[in-house]
């Protein structure tokens, strides 16, 4: 029995280090290769030993697919390809290919330079790893090998984020990566056609949330920033360098322009400038508005947003600062947070999801006293706001996507177990689609019933078409032919052609049957009566009375004979070929019932 096997190495009932192994029709594909923000030890990378037990990675995996450039989806890539060792193709979209190395480099710097970790991947490794990448376009079908093909769909979420369809023969799996069903200021909404995959692997970050309209969120955000700035306070917005940051930048930029505000907006430098450069380049991946107006002005060329310098944090007066990373767990955003936390005029706006264990998660859950490194205690007086800007689909959006793709079953990853449980139940209830939510390392096996394509010869098809109505999906029709199986090819041909191809002579097969009838009349008369009876019963068949006294119904021959021993009974000889078996058996049973009494 063919089957699809899915094993999450990461992101199973968890958020972070997305890494899912899929075996489909003998092909093994790894979806995403991310790191985990919450850990600093071995647990931050997926457990590749699961695969290496059975040999080298390259031998086992046919390809690796990266959905987008967030580190929890691509962070372990250099480690995986260079340190564990993988030489096969890595697929990602063009924007991801461009931006991914920047983020990896940044991540490496923080890990090695700041935390002084040894045995971490090097810059060279990142470069080597990126050399193995094959970039794909949206909706481009890429043939990985003869059987395996993949295709990317637009996913929203961040620039270049894509959902991937993995297809072998008639079996397919769709992996959504992270996606967003509502468009935002810089990206459109995820879209997929009715591809009806066997399995849809979807993220479920907001499995239990139905979000308010984004317009309210935007307005609230602008209002909060505006008010704090007018009061003279400083606003800290921790972001990941790429993704939400650009949306918020566009939002604030346009607002500043409209309101004619002069308060400075800073963006922590470094990778940002490079990243913005890519945003300017990949305009086709952005939303309708930016695509339409970029000829006049590229929206990513900010007028009001300037580069941030470390020294600016101590400047007096109001300002707005975007700083990385987004969960306040390290780096510049944490530094600035420490500086500003003591003043109640200031504000920190958390625009996205925070993983447990980070400072962001702590302050959001209402903790006002934080234990920092070196036993310091930081009292948080500044206001803490949470604006859900993270671009994941909410429960409704997930359902919408499942509805759009119409999969046979759904598998949930990238979410918390408790929340998944709810969504799983909903999906099974409302969409009547089986749903799975494996934990890390747990394997889900899905039996599939692959359809086997059979070629039919045009002559046969046309002949059958000519005989009756057009075929309909709901009403199966009987068709006579011969099935030829030859080097894993199936062909349906007419029997004559099959005979010819096989070099066989045709044999006639006839069934004959005797029907005894009580009748005293002569054979001719008898035949005539049979004829008139059949004529009246079988209206839409061709019934003929031949001059030699026999009756034919289509190709069935009926002869009346009088056995010598008993003049009171007559014998009807019925003979038909095996092709007319249906009609022949019907006729015999009809005749066995006897002829109606002739009207006297």
């Amino acid at each position: 029995m063919p089957e699809i096997r899915v094993t999450p190495l990461g992101a199973g009932q968890d958020v972070g280090r997305s890494c899912i192994l899929v075996s489909i029709a003998g092909k093994n594909v790894m979806l995403d290769c991310g790191m985990h923000m919450g850990f600093n030890d071995d647990r931050r990378f997926p457990d590749f030993s699961y695969i290496t037990q059975s040999g080298r990675l390259t031998d086992f995996l046919d390809c690796v697919i990266i959905s987008h450039f967030h580190l929890d989806h691509c962070g372990a890539l250099p480690y995986f390809s260079e340190m564990v060792g993988y030489d096969g193709p890595i697929y990602m979209t063009h924007p991801t290919q461009a931006i991914c190395p920047i983020l990896l480099e940044d991540y490496r710097k923080i890990a090695v330079d700041k935390k002084g970790e040894a045995n971490f991947f090097t810059s060279q490794m990142i470069k080597d790893c990126m050399k193995k990448v094959v970039a794909v376009h949206l909706h481009q079908t890429v043939q990985v090998d003869d059987e395996l093909e993949i295709k990317a769909y637009y996913a929203g979420h961040v620039l270049g984020a894509a959902m991937f369809q993995i297809k072998v023969g008639s079996e397919s799996v769709v992996y959504t990566g992270d996606y967003n069903m509502t468009p935002d200021r810089h990206l459109g909404a995820a879209w997929i056609d009715k591809c009806r995959p066997n399995l849809l692997i979807t993220e479920s970050t907001y499995a239990t949330t139905i979000r308010d309209s984004k317009r309210c969120r935007e307005r609230d955000f602008l209002k909060k920033v505006h008010e704090t700035v007018e009061r003279g306070g400083k606003v800290l917005i921790p972001v990941f360098a790429l993704g939400r940051a650009q949306e918020l930048c566009i939002l604030l930029e346009t607002f500043w322009e409209r309101m004619n505000l002069k308060v400075p907006i800073y963006f922590s430098t470094g990778l940002t400038e490079k990243a913005n450069h890519y945003y300017k380049l990949f305009i086709p991946w952005t939303n309708q508005k930016i695509r339409k107006t970029f000829v006049q002005r590229n929206m990513f060329e900010f007028k009001h947003i300037k580069a941030f310098d470390r020294a600016f944090a101590d400047n007096p007066g109001p300002m707005v600062v975007f700083a990385t990373p987004g969960m306040l767990h390290a780096g510049q955003s944490l530094q600035i947070f420490r500086k500003w936390a003591g003043n109640e005029k200031n504000m920190v706006i958390m625009p996205g999801y925070c993983v447990q264990g980070t400072v962001g998660h702590k302050i959001l859950s209402g903790q006002r006293k934080l234990e920092m490194e070196g036993r310091q205690v930081l009292e948080v007086k500044m206001q803490v706001e949470y604006m859900s800007f993270s671009a994941h689909a909410d429960a409704k959006g997930i359902m919408q996507l499942v509805g759009q793709a119409e999969p046979e079953s759904v598998l949930l990853v990238h979410g918390e177990a408790k929340k998944m449980e709810f969504l799983k139940q909903k999906i099974e209830q409302e969409l009547r689609v089986s749903c799975y939510m494996p934990a890390n390392g747990e394997t889900v096996t899905l039996p599939t019933s692959p359809s086997i394509p059979v070629g039919i010869s045009l002559g046969l098809l046309k002949r059958e078409m000519a005989q009756g109505l057009l075929p309909e999906a709901r009403k199966p029709r009987l068709l006579h032919g011969a099935l030829i199986m030859k080097d894993s090819n199936f062909r349906l041909v007419s029997s004559e052609q099959a005979l010819k191809e096989l070099g066989l002579a045709e044999h006639q097969l006839r069934f004959t049957c005797r029907v005894h009838l009580h009748d005293t009349r002569k054979e001719q008369e008898m035949a005539l009566r049979v004829y008139s009876h059949l004529k009246s019963v079988l209206k839409d068949h061709c019934v003929q009375h031949l001059p030699d006294g026999s009756v034919t119904v289509e190709s069935i021959l009926i002869q009346a004979a009088a056995p010598s021993e008993d003049p009171g009974t007559k014998v009807l000889l019925v003979s038909w070929t095996y092709q007319d078996e249906e009609l022949g058996s019907f006729l015999t049973s009809l005749l066995k019932k006897g002829l109606p009494q002739a009207p006297s």
Binding site: T209, I210, C216, R219, D220, K223, Q383, L431, E472, A473
Partner: protein, 964 residues
Amino acid sequence: MAAHLKKRVYEEFTKVVQQQQEEIATKKLRLTKPSKSAALHIDLCKATSPADALQYLLQFARKPVEAESVEGVVRILLEHYYKENDPSVRLKIASLLGLLSKTAGFSPDCIMDDAINILQNEKSHQVLAQLLDTLLAIGTKLPENQAIQMRLVDVACKHLTDTSHGVRNKCLQLLGNLGSLEKSVRKDAEGVAARDVQKIIGDYFSDQDPRVRTAAIKAMLQLHERGLKLHQAIYNQACKLLSDDYEQVRSAAVQLIWVVSQLYPESIVPIPSSNEEIRLVDDAFGKICHMVSDGSWVVRVQAAKLLGSMEQVSSHFLEQTLDKKLMSDLRRKRTAHERAKELYSSGEFSSGRKWGDDAPKEEVDTGAVNLIESGACGAFVHGLEDEMYEVRIAAVEALCMLAQSSPSFAEKCLDFLVDMFNDEIEEVRLQSIHTMRKISNNITLREDQLDTVLAVLEDSSRDIREALHELLCCTNVSTKEGIHLALVELLKNLTKYPTDRDSIWKCLKFLGSRHPTLVLPLVPELLSTHPFFDTAEPDMDDPAYIAVLVLIFNAAKTCPTMPALFSDHTFRHYAYLRDSLSHLVPALRLPGRKLVSSAVSPSIISQEDPSQQFLQQSLERVYSLQHLDPQGAQELLEFTIRDLQRLGELQSELAGVADFSATYLRCQLLLIKALQEKLWDVAAPLYLKQSDLASAAAKQIMEETYKMEFMYSGVENKQVVIIHHMRLQAKALQLIVTARTTRGLDPLFGMCEKFLQEVDFFQRYFIADLPHLQDSFVDKLLDLMPRLMTSKPAEVVKILQTMLRQSAFLHLPLPEQIHKASATIIEPAGESDNPLRFTSGLVVALDVDATLEHVQDPQNTVKVQVLYPDGQAQMIHPKPADFRNPGPGRHRLITQVYLSHTAWTEACQVEVRLLLAYNSSARIPKCPWMEGGEVSPQVETNIEGTIPFSKPVKVYIMPKPARR
């Protein structure tokens, strides 16, 4: 034609030349006709290869064919069709047959048999499809012929089983367009096929080809459009198609569901998987709402648009469309809108600062949450935040339509509309502002909503700001803080964009007059008066101060206690503003002050009916004109005209009527005066000079009649007759004057002829109205027509003269609603002393901004004229996109005019004005003698003349010689 022939018999020799020319022209036309089919025949015979033949056919198709020769051409084409082996040529012939059968004046029933014949022998699917198309053309040309329609439907049914989708498509199209309507069919014999056209089409809803499915739905819609009542059973079929794989099928299915829901709104349908039943229209509404989150944006637009027109939906369902039932971590959460409302009602300002403001509240029962409601839940929430702005606009429009029919819904959708003001695409913002204005009667803005609305005032787009001013004009504000906020924001707007001055003043005028009680407590603050101290007198020329005063004075109109709060200088300023900006500042009854205007103002309000009466009376008085001596008549007319003009000035509502009738009377007056001239009694040659007055009068009457016809909106046919009649009289007068003053008969012949044509023309077009023109000039003229035709010019003139004098004065029936078109040029203001300098020979762009009132179809009629000092005039046609339509009957022209001239020695002024172009033949249907022949479309857009309808504005310009 008979009159024409008769005339030819009697005509004099000198006229022959003209007539012959005409004849030659007609002959030429006829000569070409027979050659058409012959040429085609020869061409086709010559053709050696199919490609050649195709070329000939293509060439042939470029030229039109006259109705008489169509049949011949068709025969030749058919003949070639039978012989032709190449399907592409047959295809072209088939399409030509279709084109030809559409020719006006040709009855295609004679070629139907042939068409059906060749259809039966045709093998190529493409040609088959084309032939069916031809049959469709034939069938639509003969809508009355039941037998033919039946036959065509039969043919279509027969080919429905064809394997090619194109053929099936066409068959379905044919069925949709020709399938008999139930009642008109006789029940027996042929009824069998016809009765279940719907069923036949319905069977193809499940065709394997999506194009055929779409065609089937379209055919069904076509049946509906033709008045056939669709069966309710179709509803279920259509619902299944909503989940089709192809977007065009879904899009058409949505339409079909909408149609059925409009036909059977009250039927009851069961809800699947439960025992409940709901109204069909509600069910359909739910289904269409569901399509708002479809995968294809085309379908989404379609669905969102249709939602707007489903007014019978129960309010319960309607309100669901705005509800999305938020939750967070399985706990119910309130929307930001709900929170804002709560904050407002608890008397607190929305701080947005409180932690946990949006913290989720009660736990949600996991079982009860429904993630994909089949119902309407949140349809508009989704539609309004759609990725494509087309969908968002459609959703806003739908919201508008639904809100207009349901006040409670209007109240609920307000939050969402306000949110749309911040959309990233300007069109969407503009559309939502307009929508809000349209539903403003049903709503009152809360302060927090007003806040968001007002924030848009800083938008850099002028259209948005002005739309917003319009909106504020008709908004209800609930609190005095709201008014204050609005005023502050408007003033901010004023300092930022000084060009918005007029718009803002107007906005404040309405804001004040709508909310007098809310303005009252604000007055001391606004005027910065102090109970003890005198404050400095504000600067009278400050636009911001004027804006504040406009608000206060308009509020004071209905709030008599307010003037007590004014300080002395306010009263002075009032007097000044009342004079300088009288359209913005109303007349006030001020204590202790006698103002002239205060006496007038109540009379305007209270005497609305009497003034109408007065108008009627004065017009009735004019009826007696007939019985007065000329002197008396003139005086009466003069008086009445004066009365009417004054009335028009006083009473703006009646201005149009008054002006219109005054103009008419003036024409009459001029006519009488002209006829009183002495010149009529004296021999012609002596009084050359005196005739100036008469001919000037004739000319002026002509002008006035054009003005009457084209400058007033709401003129009906009744009036047009009278106006044309007056013009005819003016033309007669002109003829007489010319006859009197010119020597020699030659020019007179032409004029006579032309005049008689005009009369003929008049008779033809107003034949229905002739009975109303008893005793009039035309009435008499038509009586004498045969005689006039045969008379010599001198005689004609004599007859006309007596008739003009004897003819009765026609009473002008007043239309219900009549408004005079007017235009004001706001910019250029014509005040600048700085000349616009530019290099001669190059162009300079001049911004023109004007408001137009009561102009119909301004895109085609309004022109800008520039008059240079050397008398050179230039007419500029503004682009259609330069016109905006801010309100009913009002237009705004914002355009750029390019000026250029050769070098001048010093700066000089050019005049800029607006013209109303007219074309009297455009109003009248096509002339009969031109029918059948080709009418070039340019004739209709031609400008016959122009009427200036705005005050000219002077612009100082200075073209400098180019430096070398």
